[in-house]
Symmetry: C2
Subunit: 226 residues, 2 copies
DNA sequence: TTAAAAACAGGTACTTCTATCCGTTTTTAT
DNA sequence: ATAAAAACGGATAGAAGTACCTGTTTTTAA
């Protein structure tokens, strides 16, 4: 087996990491030469690594609190800047189109959801080495649906989000554990309206659900915990 | 109209406060002699108040972040300790039995949900003056269902809650915006189990929903925002 | 004063969460 | 070794949240 593909694994969970290694180990043309439990030390570790990987398999299952995408993007950007030759394959539980599109736009060469079968991982590794990238149906769809929103996505990631007064008010009430109906009752408006503000809040803050909204609110001092 | 009933209103929302005053004003035997936008300054304000109210109508729609019941309890206790003669009628959007029971146990003389009709407010005001308390069907049910859990309720309110390792882990993942199914997948357990832990977390932290869980987690440094 | 933004409201479909049952297995502490 | 606590899992039901669509009215700013 000449010209093996050197693969690096970035995954915080030991069990899953070892499982991945075991699976990759069954493929003769693949060799795991690097692993890291987190994304932040990856660049450092790569610098004094005996055999530099061709492909980096990066698990993004646990982004830091309050930001669904930023850390993944940061790691991707950092690695690509330092080692432009390394191909980056993202492995994530998140199936959000925005998320996927943002990662690809920021330099990742492929995106796999975590419950894909080993065959797809194999295929993806070969593809990023051979063709430079691996775009499956899911990723393609995400990119298409986010094509027009290039600027929107960017401004969302880097500029401080501006919430309206009403949105902040409702966000505060959400943090105080009021339901949509209760908020509507308290503000003398329809619950449909509250629902609308809720959706806008999720969109503006880039949250997936209520938990994300609360973290955002606290982080940005829209509500005060202490 | 001799022997009017002097009533005080504690309500942060101007519109609702004025509306209440207007409604109470139509009852000849009732006179509003005191109002306050928040519960914390109530005791102070009562001390230099020309006509001391017989009944205090306290709105608890907006408890401080992360605690559904404590502030209401604190205000109730403070007023009762300083002015044992004053009858306290709680007015709240919360229909939780635990919440109601805790307030009554801590000295409130009556509990009304905010969407009750004016007639019930009238009835309640007369009742707390006449009989000393006003217990409606809802309140009675709440008290009965919480009768056996007296100690449980108390320990929940005053002792720091002890979460298990697994519970903290799952709480962390909730804060990171993972859904129950995603958490189950990540931890290699059934979503039913995650659901169980979720319910226990709500119960232990005294939260009403996910928002409460996140606030609790941040407040108690189970996750770190910054 | 005119256009844009914000707030409002209704409908519909689907997903996730909340709540109660019930039970088993594993871990921990006495 | 035994009991208690923790973790696990299944079924079911209903409440709340998420995500679209469609509009109108009010506010704000150019």
């Amino acid at each position: 087996m000449k010209n093996p593909i050197y693969v690096g694994i970035v995954e915080d969970q030991v069990l899953f990491r070892e499982g991945l290694k075991a699976i990759l180990g069954t493929w003769p043309e693949v060799e795991v030469v690097f692993e890291s439990p987190d994304g932040y030390s990856v660049v450092d570790k790569l610098s004094n690594c005996t055999t530099r990987p061709h492909v980096l398999l990066v698990d993004l299952s646990l982004p830091p609190l309050g930001q669904t995408e930023f850390s993944g993007i940061q790691v991707t950007q950092a690695v690509i800047q330092a080692y432009p030759d390394i191909r980056i394959l993202i492995l994530s539980v998140h199936d959000d189109e925005n998320f996927i599109a943002q990662l690809i736009e920021n330099g990742a060469h492929g995106y796999l959801v975590k419950d894909c079968d080993p065959g797809e991982v194999h295929e993806a590794i070969l593809a990023v080495c051979d063709k430079g990238s691996y775009i499956n149906q899911r990723t393609l769809k995400a990119l298409q649906n986010n094509l027009g929103r290039g600027t929107k996505t960017k401004s969302l990631a880097f500029s401080p989000i501006q919430l309206t007064r009403r949105e902040e008010e409702i966000l505060g009430l959400i943090c105080r554990q009021l339901t949509t109906d209760e908020i509507a009752e308290k503000l003398f408006i329809s619950s449909k309206t509250v629902n609308g503000h809720r959706i806008n809040l999720l969109q503006k803050t880039g949250s997936r659900n209520t938990a994300g909204l609360v973290v955002y609110a606290i982080k940005n001092k829209i509500v005060h915990v202490f």
